[in-house]
Each structure stands twice: as structure tokens, then as C-alpha cells.
Symmetry: C2
Subunit: 336 residues, 2 copies
């Protein structure tokens, strides 16, 4: 998303405020798309940039590189990073690999593969760190979704009656699978949203921290966390949870950034991103008060049908500050 | 679309008003989906129905067959019709294979394959005939699409300026490919619409007639026609063309239907279908009068990238009844 200003600024600043990481260095841009990160790397002084892209976007990237007089520096290579052979190891791997709630799309697997094959032992990752966040929220979306679901079931019932009366076929046996499919679609599929910060009703918790220099694919296949959150609004409805991420550009321990840059996709009035947040709704909402504590069990794994999509199990206990258990639930969600 | 009443009625009537075609016969339902056509065939007296479906919908079809006490008659088979081996040849092939503007999806190829492999020489096809229609129309959609396109190009220009000023990268070289992509999307992609009959401003013309019993795949790979249409509205704007189809259930020559049934997707106030019509818009619209004649050159072929999608070349000469040429144009469209 070239028009996501927050995203563009973060990458731009991470490069141009840390020019020493790029000056006379060899850089690999994993998934270069239009080529923008490769071009910035070259403008910041890189002596060579390998810009790898799996799709035909390479045509555009090549044109853009030429139009910006960088064809001596930036080499656009069409192919999957998993298959590409570079003539040398690189000092920097830069990539914009983040999907919804960080890991959707699973593109980070490809960046890890690139790192293990092509990054020098002294190399740095751009970004260098990533975190996944979870927080309780309030939202009117749940009521809408529930009434969409109910409307769809009403239509179905009407259809079943009609099919029996007009066409002599009894379809009622399919009511249960149909209802489950609709529930999955309307109630269990996470939603994209740019929340207002005041919709966050409890302290956000980190459910995963990733050091991009050392993490393995195995360590991100399943993300589990047991975290707590305290309600910070006087009286409100707990309508669900919101997940987002941030990444940091810190360089490495031996080679720290001159200026650390953060890219966050947290709820924000002014600085929303195209990633927004993922919203997991619970039905019905629960009444909660300031000081109530949530004990949250979070588990995210890849969908069996499509490893680029995710399944989330979210369990929660709501307790008063006295320790009294108010509510406990467990729901399954799908990040589609 | 089980909730498309026009579709359901046509298939239902084609079966139950032609019971002699089904009584004690062997039937093949190509792409049975929920199993509805197979169940009707059995209810009309078929002694055996093979219900073939490529997807997991077979689970539902099987349940439905059982719930309607037809497991002795209807055999649900999971697999592509191209791969399935039946133990015998069949008397009837029934299938609901029609896509937008008849041929989108290219599922008819599979029905032809089934026919050549499994239909007895005396067998009948349900439906037995199909036609594609084209007619000149007026529509306000073109103005909307044009302003969407212009808006998108304005955004792009702003983006290019901004990227140059803030991020030091000149993207203007991509203006041409971007504009072509946007043109394709907003102006050259056919639209789904259920038109009002009075939006049809000229006599509709048949661009293709298909006898489902004899047609070959080669004969539908490319559909070309040179047809004419007379404007029937006093004074109006020619905004584009609309394509739709009808199919007929007539049985075969040796074995004609007792009652011929028609399923049409033409513009209709009351009997719209989920297929609607495909609309091909021209920019800008042309002023036309009653009696003007259109000479239309139509060619539809399959998209190189995806043979289930279509490309359409539409050329048109607009002539006054005096013979004077008012306008002539040629446009390319995509049925996506
Ligand atoms: N395994 C892989 N090998 C090469 N390119 C990949 C890839 N997986 C994803 N990509 C590409 O990575 C890009 C991610 S989007 C980011 C584009 C660009 N770097 C920018 O910041 O604007 C997409 O263009 C996608 O096609
Ligand atoms: N080659 C093929 N072999 C088997 N099934 C196919 C097929 N091509 C398409 N289909 C199936 O054909 C169906 C067409 S939709 C029609 C469904 C059903 N007969 C009804 O009238 O309601 C889809 O379910 C699709 O999965």
C-alpha cells in the first residue's frame, strides 16, 4: 500500500535516518513490489540492491528503477525468494512482509528463508523486531453481525418451507450445516477495522515478540499466550478483542540503529494504517467495570486448508478485583 | 442459486411436465451441487440417477438424498465428470451449467464431455438448446464508471506528486500502465445488472445458437457474429450493449418434449434471475433516434490467463435510415 502514509514514513525514516546501515552496503529487498524500498536503499547509498519479486510487478519495478537512474545499483529479479540464487551474501535484508495481525499471508516464512540463505553473519534485518498485541474492546459491530446472521437464518427457514411446499424437496436436514457455515461467516470470522482508541477498554497485552534476526519458522507456526488485561473504563461492554502489531527498526546488537523507528498499527485517531486491526467479536457482550481482570488464553495456528490464513482460539475469564469469577468463555475464530 | 425462482421453476417444470423422459430412465446430473436436479429426476420416476459433483457439496447432496428417501435411486459421486466412470450409458443428461452470458465459467465443456462419453445415441439433453442475445441499451452506469475512473486517476496524480516531493521517488513512468489497468477495471470490464426492459433501446439479436446434443467444444471456443439492430426509442443515448441468454428444454427430434420449457435471463421487471445481464458500456454515449440501424460485430473468446473468463470485441456502426454513417467504434471488454 504505497498510499499508506504511516507505513511509507516508517520505512522511509528507517532508511534515511540510518544511512550508515546502507552506505556502500549490499541490500536484499524481499518482495520488492513496485521497487520502492530498493530504490530508497540505493538512494541512501547502497552499492548494490537485489530487488526480488515473485510477480509480474517486476516490469513496473524495472521501469521505476530506470526512471530514477538507479539501474546501475538496483537489480530487479523476478522469482520466488525461495528459488533465487544471488551472487553474494548481503548486509541488509529489508522487506515489507507484514499481513493482517502480523502473520496472515505467512510471508514472513519467506523472509526467514532469505535470511538463513543470504544474510551475512553480521547482517541486519529491516525491520528487526515485531510484536503482536491483543486488547479487549467495545464495538457496535457485534450487534450488526448477529442480526445479519439471524436474518440469514430467517431467509433459510423461509427457503426450506418454500422448497418443501413448491418443489417437494425437504431440505431441513441441511439447516444445521447451513447454520454453522453462516455462524462461521458472520460471527467467527475476524473483521478488519480501524478502531478509535477509546474503543479499547482494557490494557493491551503482548502475545508474541519476535526477533527477526533469530526467529525460526517453527516458532511462528503456532502462537500461544496466556496474558491478562485490566478493564480501564468505568462501566462498559466487553464486545470482543482486537489484535494488531508493531514492528521496530533497531538494527542489530553489534550494529544498532542510529535512530530507532517504530511502525505501529494500534488503534489511532490520526495514524490509521491499511492494516487496521483485526476484531474478534464475542456474542453476547459482557458487562464489565473498571478494575475487572481478564485472564486471556490465546492460540493462533494456520488454517489446514490454506496455510496463509489463520485460526484463533480465544478463551477468557472475567474476574472482579475481589477475585470473583464473573464469566468464562472460549471461542474459535478465523482470520480469512 | 437455489433461491432463484425463475431458474428453479424452469428446471422443475422441464422435469415434471415431461415425466415420460424420466420414467424408468437412467439420468446423469452433471454438477449436482446440493442434489436438487437429481432428486427431482428421481421423483419424476427415474430408475437410476448418477449425481456427479466435483466439490465437497457431495456431503450435503448425500444427506439430502437420504432425507428424501431416494438413496436407492440417486447415487452421489464425488469427482470431476471428466474422470468419473459410470457403469452404464444414460438416457438423459441434466445439468445447470450456464454462467454469466451463458459461457462464462466454461462449464459447458464438461457437459459436452459427459455427453460424448455417457449419453446413449437416443438420449436427450436437459436443457436441449441455448442462445446468446445482444441488444443496445441506455444506462446511467457509464457516467458513474467514468467518474470513478477519473477520480482514481486524480488520486494517482496526487500520489505521484506526493511521492516525488516527500519520498524523492519519481513514479510518473507508471502513470500509463496504471491508467490502462484502471481503464480495464472501470471501463472495459462488463458489469452484472438486472436491467429494466425499457433500458433496451433496440431490437435484440441472437449472436449464437447452440444445439446441446450436437455442439462441439471447438464451436464454442470463439463466438463471432455480425448482427444488426434497429433503434426502437424515439430519441435516446446509446450507452452500451447488454448480453444475456436463454435455454430451452425441448427434448430431441426423435423424443420431443411434451411441453417445451424456456428459461430466459432477458431484462424483466418481475422475473429477474441471479444471472442478470452482462453490460458492456461505451464511452461516451452516442445520441441515436428511432429507425437508426446498428451493424454490430461481435467476437467473444476465452481469456488467455484464465479460460473460464472471456474477452469480447465489440465493433459497431451507427447509421441513419438514409444510410448515412453517424458513428463507428470498436471496443474491447473483459467478462471477469
Ligand atoms: N516468496 C516470495 N518471493 C518473492 N516475492 C514475494 C514472495 N512472497 C511475497 N512476495 C511479494 O512481496 C510483496 C509484498 S508487498 C510489499 C511491496 C513493496 N516492498 C512495498 O513496500 O511497497 C508482494 O509484491 C508479493 O508479490
Ligand atoms: N467438471 C465438473 N465435474 C463435476 N462437477 C462440476 C464440474 N464443473 C462444475 N461442477 C459443479 O457443477 C455445479 C454447478 S451449479 C448447479 C448445482 C445444481 N445442479 C443446481 O442446479 O442447483 C457446481 O456445484 C460445480 O461444483
Amino acid at each position: 500500500m504505497l498510499s499508506d502514509r504511516v507505513r511509507m514514513d516508517a520505512y522511509y525514516n528507517s532508511i534515511f535516518r540510518n544511512k550508515s546501515h546502507f552506505l556502500d552496503k549490499v541490500v536484499l529487498d524481499v518482495g520488492t513490489g513496485s521497487g520502492i524500498l530498493a530504490i530508497w536503499s540505493a538512494q541512501a547509498g547502497a552499492k548494490k540492491v537485489y530487488a526480488v519479486e515473485a510477480t509480474k510487478m517486476t516490469d513496473h519495478a524495472r521501469e521505476l528503477v530506470r526512471a530514477n537512474n538507479l539501474e546501475g545499483i538496483v537489480e530487479v529479479i523476478e522469482g520466488s525468494i525461495e528459488d533465487v540464487i544471488l551472487p553474494e551474501k548481503v548486509d541488509v535484508i529489508i522487506s515489507e512482509w507484514m499481513g493482517y495481525f502480523l502473520l496472515r499471508e505467512s510471508m514472513f516464512d519467506s523472509v526467514i528463508c532469505a535470511r538463513d540463505r543470504w544474510l551475512k553473519p553480521t547482517g541486519v534485518m529491516y525491520p528487526s523486531h515485531a510484536r503482536m498485541w491483543l486488547a479487549p474492546i467495545r464495538s457496535g459491530l457485534g450487534d450488526h453481525k448477529m442480526s445479519d446472521y439471524e436474518g440469514s437464518m430467517d431467509d433459510w427457514q423461509y427457503f426450506v418451507k418454500n422448497t418443501k411446499n413448491h418443489y417437494g424437496v425437504d431440505m431441513s436436514i441441511l439447516t444445521k450445516p447451513f447454520s454453522e457455515e453462516q455462524k462461521k461467516y458472520y460471527l467467527q470470522t475476524s473483521l478488519w477495522n480501524n478502531l478509535h482508541p477509546n474503543q479499547v477498554i482494557g490494557t493491551p497485552a503482548v502475545v508474541k515478540e519476535i526477533d527477526c534476526l533469530t526467529v525460526t519458522v517453527e516458532e511462528i507456526l503456532v502462537v500461544t499466550a496466556n496474558v491478562s488485561s485490566s478493564i480501564i473504563k468505568e462501566e462498559t461492554r466487553l464486545c470482543g478483542f482486537s489484535g494488531w502489531f508493531d514492528v521496530h527498526f533497531r538494527g542489530s546488537k553489534e550494529n544498532p540503529a542510529e535512530e530507532e523507528i517504530e511502525l505501529t498499527t494500534e488503534p489511532s485517531e490520526e495514524n490509521g494504517t491499511h492494516w487496521g486491526q483485526q476484531v474478534f467479536l464475542i456474542h453476547p457482550p459482557t458487562h464489565v467495570c473498571s478494575g475487572d481482570d481478564l485472564n486471556i488464553n490465546f492460540a493462533m495456528s494456520r488454517s489446514k486448508e490454506n496455510h496463509r490464513l489463520m485460526e484463533v482460539d480465544l478463551g477468557c475469564e472475567v474476574k472482579q478485583s475481589s477475585g470473583k469469577l464473573l464469566q468464562s468463555f472460549k471461542h474459535k475464530f478465523f482470520i480469512e
